[in-house]
Amino acid sequence: MSVLELRDVSKVYGEGSSEVNALREVSLVVDAGELVAVMGPSGSGKSTLLTIAGSLEEPTSGEVLVCGAALSGMSRNDRARLRRRSIGYVFQDFNLLAGLTAAENVSLPLELDGTPAKAARVEGIRALDELGLGQRASRYPDELSGGERQRVAIARAVVGDRRVLLADEPSGALDSANGEAVMRLIRSACQRGVAGVVVTHDAQLACWADRVVFLRDGRVVDQTTTPPGPESLLAPSRNL
């Protein structure tokens, strides 16, 4: 079942001689439980695609649907509610609030959406527990390592009943071991039914996705087919 859909989405910045076509008629469908990676060079439109998919920015033309509902038909308040309830974001620089503990950072979106503070805190600690950070719940961001901070950010992105997880270079600031750990967590969140989109220029991270979409000059130029399964690599005829 499709949870996130982009239909012929284009985005133009500026006008006249300074006009920049960041996205050109991009279509993308992401199902529940699927993780899609978007790869492309700098300036290919990866981050623009993510901000439009997450309703942080509006397309110049085309349509974005989340859980079957078109964003263009929603009021500003409805879109804000959808962002709070259904969409989780993970950024390269974590974007945690320095004055809040890990648990408070994670429970904040629930509290903003009307969940009583105590219930939100319980839910936040449960999300941290699932990512192996239960013991660090009362620590502030500057008391955590980079890998731990990103895990808190992932917990914040999936807490509650989120349906879409959007991540922009989520391991760009981490070493390869922590980067891999972050991708394992994102993949695991998707396997529980979330539709995920990760944009990255790093092939080793993109390869954790079920499908890799290649973006170039604002267009989708190609995508991978479903891998045949790891056992094919170990077939006796394989020439290594």
């Binding site: 790869m39 060079p41 394992r184 993949r187 220029h201 092939a203 080793q204 993109a206 390869c207 954790w208 996705a209 890799v212 290649f214 170039r216 130029v221 190609d222 995508q223 991978t224 087919t225 891998p227 045949p228 399964g229 790891p230 094919s232 690599l233 170990l234 006796p236 290594l240």
Partner: protein, 193 residues
């Protein structure tokens, strides 16, 4: 992959039979490199001929023979471990050749050629990543082999990315004639090993 030295390494732990060596070789390399038993015995015979291993019993070198490493074999293994493989000459890489040729063939979109190879490499990396996801946590040797393959494929993708960027820039800003602009440079690199 040097089967010869891998067998010496296994024998450095103590005397072993041929079939045992095959099983341990495959287990230590995460079963990524299958080894047939004929290859094991042929290699052992050559190692024995070169006085790097000795068999405990007289026989035909078959399954009943147990092999042990000699002092000469231990010296050979120590030297091999510390000798870097020869990477000083660029290999005659088929992919590099294809991209260079694609630039010269009329009517060929080199970006399309680059993308076809990039997609194939990413699909291969996805398969290796699935293997890592399911199995590598339980087997250090296997995890190291999978990481090596992922880094190798990743480096090829990085080269394709860099090549595509360079080709794009060159199309809008053609480079000077290199022969006229630069003094003659050595085309071979190398450091004493």
């Amino acid at each position: 992959m040097s089967v010869r030295h891998a067998l010496l390494a296994l024998l450095s732990e103590g005397p072993k039979y041929g079939l045992q060596l095959r099983q341990e070789f495959e287990a230590r390399t995460g079963e990524v490199w299958p080894l047939n038993v004929g290859q094991v015995y042929t290699t052992l015979q050559r190692l024995e001929r070169d006085d790097l291993v000795a068999s405990d019993e007289t026989g035909d070198g078959g399954p009943q023979n147990r092999f042990r490493i000699t002092a000469e074999g231990e010296r050979e293994l120590a030297t091999w471990l510390r000798t870097p493989p020869d990477l000083s000459s660029p290999p005659r890489d088929e992919l590099v050749m294809k991209i260079l040729i694609a630039l010269r063939v009329p009517g060929v979109d080199v970006h399309e050629v680059v993308q076809a190879h990039r997609r194939y490499l990413v699909e291969l990396m996805q398969e290796w990543t699935r293997l890592k996801e399911y199995a590598a946590d339980r087997d250090l040797g296997f995890a190291l082999v999978v990481d090596a393959e992922l880094f190798r494929l990743d480096s090829v993708i990085r080269w394709l990315d860099a090549a595509e960027g360079r080709i794009k820039r060159a199309a809008s800003d053609p480079p000077m004639d290199a022969a006229a602009a630069l003094p003659k440079l050595p085309r071979r690199v190398g450091v004493p090993r």
